[in-house]
Symmetry: C2
């Protein structure tokens, strides 16, 4: 089987570094991982571990080519690659690399053709950097796009599915190189099988799926999210230097062509935290009280990712809009598994990308899909 | 993909019907299913449903060629095909046929070569007839052999595994034609994944696995078990005509070159029965009291199949030896899911095939593998 990419037609049209192509330096990787952690809304695993994995892979295999979606041939074959499991477990078991190679190889074997480019399934923590590792290892270009423009806990919750792209064949590989290939009629059914296998694999696996054409990638993914993560990470750092990290973050989000609206929902300290790994997910909630004790409390509920923020029982933001808890001074995003009692934090909300708010998207990512008894009201329409 | 069998080199050397080839007539199917139900030791699903499935497939597609193991080329490709799940569910959901075709096709695709012949995984209830359906539908020869010489609940519990044949690639398909291909380092690991997927598929699926060469089939399967099942079924019917059905059964088993030893363990009526479908299995036990009330009671425990028979707390037979509960008058084998309070039954034990009693076999089918705190003592060595 050949995994040699068909690069002849591919050219990068993305110019962030000035060299005609996005190359993430080690400094960039810090900013990128930080920005991705924000977009991960608490899920997707520890950005620190993800960054180290990407750094090591780039040192060993060189920088992967990060290419613009529009530079892709319409008939190119693209798939996503990701880690899947509960963040609390993902942090203890980093991918070896051989598992990543095997997942992409098995998918290519099943398709009967080489994979031309890889894509992140989601932007968030470790899953924004695993595709960098994969692209570096396999010498494949990485698309500047992803399937969510944020992170979500289940595999049917991606724009590809909302827009009619098949989830399968879908490959799962564990650290012992056991592999499972799933083919189902619907993405939700694939999720059922994937989750039960993932639980058996100890809740830390590499997955490759949603094989699609270049034409499908162009209409059914959120574009430029790697650049967006890098810029958000840079804005946090610039904001720190200017003495207003959270302000810098919120301003950058408000100017974004993908998110476009953001606000600080709450400022306080964590006074209660419940979190358990159950049914393959890290599920729980976090209660934050205002520092002066006068403004009541905010409750944030999560299933891997933060799902809803209630202030004194009033809805302030709800999925698919983004809710991220950050350090109140440094604006460092805090993954759900790193939340601790007593932390002083701000809760930030940002508007979801448009492709997450279509009627067909809300069939899969409406608050009720997460067991929440709320209608979806975009944060732009909720009172401040 | 081609599923055309390579029949040029295959010739039947099995002469049961006198035509040089085993052909199961409709009458034979009754006897065969009855004998297989005995060898299924309570598991493997309802032989009645299995027989109807085989009968319909033969009417529609013609008789499959049932061939002797020794007529197989050493480099032929063989795989088993079976239903997998809890018997209580298997009885409610019969295979559609398309699921069987897809399972074999997916395995062949993954192997990159056609399957030359099919084999039953086990002899027992529905799983002795599903391969007949598959062979008839696909026009493939069926081997006169199986992986157990009886039935067992898990996929690592086959002679192929004991003798070093890989279980995977292993394919699972459900009634909606969702498919999963599993590749693992060990058969036990495959079982873990298969079971979790099967639970998600509603505990009734078609599986195809243990792809092996003709040479492997010759050394790592129990030979002639289709003939054996037919002969056991015939002996029961002949015994009925002679007024001693159970006697006819036990004599035939004692003369068998595969089993060679059998006895009646107990005679009585069922006075207690507990059975639940849990963790993907039908698990429980059955208490039988002697009819005159003087000889105490026998307790038979099962996990899909009957595992151990205790008479007043004393071990009378234990897995891998065969334990089957039959009607005390007709010697009709009673599957665990058909056991009823008040049934008048005899408990029959037969010695396991030799390949189930090797040290490497007992690593997988020792009583302790089923959670039973007994050493394995062959029935020949237990006092009568």
């Amino acid at each position: 089987m050949s995994l040699t990419p068909n690069l002849t037609e591919l050219k990068s049209v993305l110019d962030v570094s000035g060299s005609g192509e996005l190359t993430l330096s080690e400094d960039d990787l810090h900013d990128f991982a930080r920005g991705a952690a924000f977009l991960g809304t608490g899920g997707g695993g520890d950005p620190y571990i993800g960054r180290l994995m990407a750094q090591n892979a780039i040192r060993e295999f060189g920088h992967p080519k990060i290419i613009d979606v529009n530079s892709l041939d319409d008939d190119a074959t693209v798939a996503f690659v990701a880690m899947l499991g509960a963040p609390t477990v993902l942090n203890e078991k980093a991918a070896s690399g051989a598992d990543i190679d095997l997942a992409v190889m098995r998918l290519s074997e099943r398709l009967g053709r080489p994979i031309d480019a890889l894509m992140p399934a989601e932007i968030g923590g470790v899953n924004s950097t695993v595709p960098i590792v994969a692209a570096a290892r396999l010498g494949l270009p990485l698309l500047n796009a992803d399937g969510m423009g944020r992170a979500f806990p289940e595999i049917q919750m991606v724009v590809m599915n909302f827009e009619g792209v098949r989830a399968t064949p879908f490959v799962i590989v564990d650290e012992h190189l056991n592999s499972v290939i799933i083919e189902t009629g619907t993405a939700k059914r694939a999720e059922d099988f994937v989750r039960s296998v993932a639980i058996n694999m100890g809740l830390s696996c590499i997955v490759a799926g949603y094989p699609m054409t270049g034409a499908e990638v162009k209409r059914a993914t959120v574009h430029n999210t790697l650049t967006e993560a890098l810029e958000i990470g840079r804005a946090i750092v610039a904001g720190r230097r200017a003495g207003d990290a959270v302000g810098g973050l919120v301003r950058r989000l408000s100017e974004s062509s993908i998110y476009g609206h953001a606000r600080i929902l709450f400022d306080g300290k964590i006074v209660d935290l419940r979190r358990e790994t159950t049914a393959g997910f890290s599920i729980g909630h976090c209660k934050i009280e205002s520092l002066n004790g006068t403004s009541g409390a905010m409750d944030v509920q999560f299933q891997n990712e933060n799902l809803v923020a209630l202030e004194n029982g009033i809805l302030r933001a709800v999925v698919p809009d983004l809710i991220t808890i950050v350090d109140r001074e440094t604006a460092e995003p805090i993954p759900t598994e790193a939340l601790r009692y007593g932390q002083r934090v701000k809760v930030i909300a940002a508007a979801a990308p448009k492709l997450l708010k279509t009627p067909q998207a809300l069939e899969f990512i409406h608050p009720r899909c997460f067991g929440l008894d709320f209608d979806f009201t975009p944060i732009e329409e909720l009172t401040t």
